[in-house]
């Protein structure tokens, strides 16, 4: 007895069909998420409504909050997308983000005088974060290139190392009066916010959207240009598709590995700087609700496309904002993980289709 259904690879698939499959996946994910919510004793419809309200259709405040949460997701997502395109699994963006925040804090509060003009100080902070983030990721890149150390494990372990490293400074030398916080940033070390202009435009009062968002959009454009027009972008595409071919045509795989991971870490480091300088205004424990990890999901759902990264990051930013309203913690990560799992599984239906063969025993 043969199975009545045969799996056959598709030749081509229309945009409409692809969109349909993606939509079905999203619906399934929401359904499963709803089931999980029920399991935790929460009304799923109310929860989804609350999330939507807080994130998107609650007026200017909601949109601003969403964009603020989306900013580090965009940056980390870009970094992840760059690396993933080359099949380099930088899952340690969180660690690079943490160290970037550390470097920015160091520059802001300890290593450079606060009397520097604001643009200069902010630039220095950004540079420090980018360099440290890049270097941290490049370490994992070098380990991979020279010793073939699995980058998933090395970047992940480095996340925990970075976390303890930051804690050392937060609880120790940088602690303000014994509390696990660094001193608040001077105004010259804070990113510009829309609410800074509230005196001139009263409608902007309370809108915390900061310059980091613009920076993130610029970064997205830069990454898009990099991938499309530069030799490095071409090399990334080739190595991501077939590294052996890349090697055979003369691409230096080791150097490209380190370079791409460095760029990836630079984006994540910048995300750290943008968070401490635009939102938290100091270095403290757990200032990141796992942006670097969420960014993995963002990058993948965006199909590693920089423009889509912005879109998906905004959606997920909204989810983060909204899930503050919903009781059980962990709901955001649960929904995100479910969504990714379902979407990844649904790609099967885009690549194959089922052929009905009938139940007869004879072929």
């Amino acid at each position: 007895m043969r199975s009545p259904v045969r799996i056959v690879p598709r030749h081509a698939i229309g945009r409409g069909q692809q969109a349909g499959i993606a939509a079905a996946a999203v619906c399934l994910a929401l359904l499963l998420g709803g089931l999980f919510l029920l399991l935790a004793g929460v009304d799923p419809l109310a929860a989804y409504a609350a999330i939507g309200r807080a994130a998107f259709w609650g007026g200017a405040y909601a949109l601003s909050d969403t964009a603020v949460k989306a900013t580090p997701l965009i940056l980390c997502g870009l970094g992840c997308a760059l690396a993933f395109r080359m099949r380099l699994w930088n899952v340690g963006a969180e660690g690079q983000l943490l160290l970037g925040a550390w470097a920015a804090t160091g520059v802001a509060s300890f290593w450079l005088p606060a009397t520097l003009p604001r643009p200069l100080l902010l630039t220095a902070m950004a540079l420090a974060a980018v360099v440290v983030g890049a270097g941290y990721a490049a370490l994992a890149g070098w380990l991979k290139a020279r010793l073939n150390v699995n980058e998933i494990l090395s970047t992940l372990m480095l996340v925990y190392v970075a976390s303890h490293f930051n804690n050392f400074w937060i609880f120790g030398p940088w602690s303000q009066s014994g509390f696990p916080l660094s001193p608040q940033f001077a105004p010259s070390a804070q990113l510009w916010r829309l609410s800074d202009a509230a005196a001139a435009v009263p409608a902007l009062s309370g809108i915390t959207l900061h310059a980091g968002f613009a920076l993130a959009l610029l970064a997205a454009a830069a990454v898009w240009w990099l991938l499309r027009s530069t030799r490095l972008g071409f090399a990334i595409d080739v190595l991501g598709d077939n590294a052996a071919c890349g090697r055979s045509v003369g691409i230096d795989v080791g150097r490209t590995t380190v370079l791409v991971l460095a760029l990836s870490g630079a984006c994540a480091g910048l995300a750290g700087m943008v968070e401490v300088s635009g939102v938290v205004l100091r270095l403290q424990e757990r200032f990141s609700p796992g942006y670097g990890f969420t960014a993995i999901i963002v990058a993948w759902l965006a199909r590693l496309n920089p423009a889509l990264v912005v879109v998906v990051a905004l959606l997920f930013g909204g989810l983060l904002v909204g899930s503050r309203e919903v009781q059980p913690a962990g709901i955001a990560m649960l929904l995100q993980g479910t969504l990714l799992l379902v979407v990844v599984g649904s790609e099967f239906f885009a690549r194959y289709r089922a052929q009905w063969r009938g139940w007869s025993a004879h072929g």
């Binding site: 935790a40 899952v91 699995n150 494990l153 090395s154 372990m157 303890h164 120790g172 990844v344 599984g345």
Partner: protein, 321 residues
């Protein structure tokens, strides 16, 4: 420090290492089985947390740690089935599938485990049961024979896993599936069934490892209590060259290193006494994993042995190029 003191310190450290390394050993044994079958599971962290949470969730009302253990295995195995479906049947990329499963597990454990935090007082746990006579032996006694039943089980499971893989038909088929699924399929071995079984068993053992934390070691449930142990298990699998026996010393060593900050701070020696040094000790286990991977790769470059050849690759029967 007195002579006896030094020896006692080391013995204590080793014994604590065995206990502390048990959860890691259990998870690693499970992952070795799964990876021998050719499936990578990056969601071990989430599965461990789900196991830890489920163990406490069931042990609290029922008052039985054993039932909690069973619940931990079942819950994690069920969740791991999703990974099997997505990457074996639906042929998705194993890395992404595993990672997303991990997120699901972390979120689920966090969500359902929130009311459980702080309830360890009434929790039935696996108590230490020294083996009569053997636990009196010098050095070996406290190190190997004065633990709870989970540790004994883990230490016995390692050679049993090896026997299963190397000396049974099931193990032979599993190994073939992980090295060359096309060949195995051509000879009538059902690749899909073996991979599903390996993934579910591996996932279930990850859950048991989590329960070993929450029902014995810690005890109790705390958000994020595994602190990366699920990922460490992946590194240990590589370091052990996919050999269950070799996972034992690695896990014990890691356990000892985990214990180091606690034991060392009791010593009043110079810099070690400074509370800040604790942060650097906390980094040690993770740096140790990286070191282990580096050393492992240096050795492998000389010998040329590696992972199961089909690890990470989806199996598709007869797809024509």
């Amino acid at each position: 420090m007195a002579e006896g003191g030094a020896l006692a310190f080391v013995v204590n450290l080793l014994a604590a290492g065995v206990a502390s390394g048990t959860p890691l050993l259990i998870v690693t044994l499970g992952e070795v089985i799964a990876e021998r079958g050719g499936v990578l599971n990056l969601g071990l962290e989430g599965l461990m947390l789900v196991g830890a949470m489920s163990g406490v969730l069931v042990a609290l009302p029922t008052g039985s740690a054993s039932l909690g253990l069973l619940a931990a295995f079942t819950a994690a195995a069920l969740l791991a089935t999703a990974h099997a479906v997505v990457c074996v049947s639906l042929r998705a990329d194993q890395v992404v599938s595993g990672l997303s499963l991990g997120f699901v597990g972390i979120g689920l454990a966090s969500m359902l485990g929130a009311p459980l935090v702080g309830a360890q007082a009434q929790l039935d746990r696996f108590a230490v049961r020294p083996v009569p006579f053997f636990s009196e032996l010098p050095v070996l006694g406290p190190v190997l024979f004065a633990h709870n039943v989970l540790t004994y089980g883990a230490l016995l499971a390692a050679p049993l896993c090896w026997l299963l893989l190397q000396r049974t038909r099931i193990g032979l088929h599993l190994r073939a599936v992980g090295e060359n699924p096309e060949a195995a399929d051509g000879l009538g071995v059902n690749v899909t069934v073996y991979r599903y079984a390996a993934v579910c068993l591996g996932g279930g053992l990850a859950g048991v490892g989590g329960a070993a934390l929450s029902l014995a070691l810690t005890p109790g449930y705390v958000d994020g209590m595994t602190a990366g142990m699920g990922f460490v298990a992946l590194g240990l699998t590589i370091f052990a060259r996919w050999n269950p026996l070799a996972a034992v010393p690695g896990a014990l060593l890691f356990g000892a290193i985990r214990r180091l900050p606690l034991d060392v701070q009791g010593l009043d020696v110079g810099w070690l006494a400074n509370p800040s040094s604790g942060y650097f000790f906390n980094m040690l286990p993770y740096l140790f994993v990286i070191g282990v991977l580096v050393v492992g790769n240096l050795r492998r470059q000389q010998r040329g042995l590696g992972a199961p050849a089909a690890l990470g690759r989806s199996f598709v029967r007869g797809e024509r190029r």
